[in-house]
Symmetry: C2
Subunit: 133 residues, 2 copies
């Protein structure tokens, strides 16, 4: 039976950089041709990244569910299955599930030299609840 | 209702480069950060690419169905939902659906200078039938 799930849920992501229950299945490693890595990230309801930046941007392709993408000092965008989000370089943002839905996205993350991400502070419960109204 | 399909089927791909009914939905365009394009390609049963090469490789992520990936002078590999195929540079190959199943994959195709692909001859019916046994 086809359950609809494409990738394994994967391994838990660290609470240092994620709030709630988030999981990663790596799909593509950087090599001489692919100057990025790619993976499937599953967020259970309420789970989200910390605020963070990417020195050479990132692409999110939403596979399942409903969530949010928010850049600092801008309104949160609701994102859903089939959506593609092009995240610019050096732009503080977070992404994650809604409070009541899971969300799964593929992330394609470019390298600048050997850096993909700079992690910042958690999205507080107050910040998170303010977009879930 | 969630039908399971993530992306639109998209626009027909040209018979010059594809046999049978194949469709493309573009997802990501090349820009200053993303040195690739990405799209969702749907192959109806029997549809396949021509033989071709990529100067800086390609990544396929199978979203749905069953198909084949074959490099020249090697056995065809059966590919299915959840599989990831890392295609090396300058390696003659084709991919497509099986004779009885559809197949949908995301393709992430790197640029070398301004070139992504060099198209070659069609996969003949004889070549295609020989892997569908």
């Amino acid at each position: 039976m086809d359950t609809g799930q494409i990738f394994l849920k994967g391994q838990p992501l660290p609470s240092e950089w994620f709030s709630g229950n988030a999981f990663l299945t790596p799909l593509v490693a950087r090599d001489k041709n692919n100057e990025f890595s790619a993976g499937s990230v599953s967020f259970e309801p309420k789970a989200r990244t910390n605020w963070h930046t990417h020195p050479k941007g990132q692409v999110l392709i939403v596979m399942e569910g409903n969530g949010f993408y928010q850049e600092k000092d801008k309104p949160a965008q609701r994102i859903k299955k089939g959506d593609v989000i092009i995240i610019p370089e050096n732009t503080e943002h977070w992404h994650g599930a809604t409070a009541v839905n899971k969300m799964v996205h593929i992330a394609i993350t470019n390298y600048k030299d050997d850096v993909q991400v700079t992690w910042l502070e958690p999205v507080t419960d107050e910040e998170y609840e303010s977009v879930n109204i």
